[in-house]
């Protein structure tokens, strides 16, 4: 086994050499991870748009979606998590705050879930979209939470089934199938991600159409 300090030095040297490309790659990954759901939601809202117009139309939502994600993070539970990190020296308090922030996440995240759809639908700002989402989902916490969990379970079951089929096919095909298997997994991940965005658009549509005023 290598000396841990020597290994750390090697890691540092490699990072020092390749940080610009890693930073660029990371930024591009973040952009792609925001652009894909934006394209999925726009597809859900305007399915007749062409592929190129969907990409163009959703690209302008990358930055607003990033801002909205950060805003929702802080509005729901991030502020408390932040306090928890600041108080890490007082371990018991940090643990309690982390627990409370998890509870807050469960309470508030479903209420803000439709905010990106509202932003794309109405073209309003981040703050207003977050406020509108919170107001529109009054009385719908259980439905949103339940539906999202149920959908994730369905996706998980289908993915597991496909995974088993893929593994069997890969085992039959030999060594070269490993790469193909991981490529298919990437595509499946995107398919499910975009299907989730379409479902979110449908969910927000029915919630907005049936407000609970009482």
């Amino acid at each position: 086994m290598g000396d841990p300090s020597q290994m750390g030095q090697v890691m540092l040297n490699v990072l020092k050499d390749s940080w610009p490309i890693l930073l660029l790659g990371g930024l591009l990954m973040i952009i792609a991870s925001l652009w894909a759901p934006a394209a999925g939601m726009l597809f859900g809202l305007q399915p007749k748009l062409s592929f190129v117009n969907l990409l163009k139309g959703s690209a302008k939502y990358i930055l607003p979606l990033l801002g909205l994600s950060i805003l929702i993070f802080f509005l729901s539970f991030g502020w408390l998590l932040f306090v928890g990190i600041l108080l890490t020296t007082i371990a018991p308090i940090a643990v309690v705050l982390t627990f409370i922030s998890s509870v807050l996440f469960l309470l508030f995240a479903p209420r803000y879930m439709i905010a990106p759809v509202l932003m794309m639908r109405s073209g309003k700002g981040m703050m207003e979209s977050a406020k509108n989402a919170f107001a529109a989902t009054k009385g719908y916490w259980g439905k949103i939470f339940g539906n999202i969990i149920l959908l994730q379970v369905c996706f998980f079951v289908v993915l597991m089934g496909l995974q088993i089929v893929l593994s069997v096919l890969a085992a039959m095909a030999g060594d070269s199938a490993g790469m193909l298997q991981s490529l298919v997994q990437q595509v499946l991940g995107q398919v499910f991600g975009i299907a989730f965005a379409v479902f979110l658009v449908q969910l927000s549509g029915t919630i907005i159409a049936n407000p609970k005023t009482a």
Binding site: G25, A32, F43
Partner: protein
């Protein structure tokens, strides 16, 4: 009027995707391609370089250990 149940939402999403499956698949394939290209261009070369450097360090360590301790089994010494 009550909000649509889960099954109805799934069905309407499925119908929408089925009706426009070409666009749906194009989006999924495009973003898969972006992710795969990024991984192949940035993260996989970085990981393999890191692994190479680590292996080099561990290899030199093993050599040093063998010099210090000649009683190591012959298989390892080779």
């Amino acid at each position: 009027m009550a909000a649509q149940p889960f099954s109805s939402l799934v069905k309407s999403s499925y119908d929408l995707i089925k009706k426009n499956w070409k666009t749906f698949l194009s989006i999924a394939l495009f973003f898969s391609l972006v992710t795969i290209v990024l991984q192949a261009a940035v993260f996989i070369p970085f990981a393999s370089r890191m692994q190479q450097e680590m292996t080099a360090v561990m290899g030199s360590d093993t050599n040093a250990m063998m010099m210090a301790d000649p009683s190591l089994p012959e298989g390892i010494q080779e």
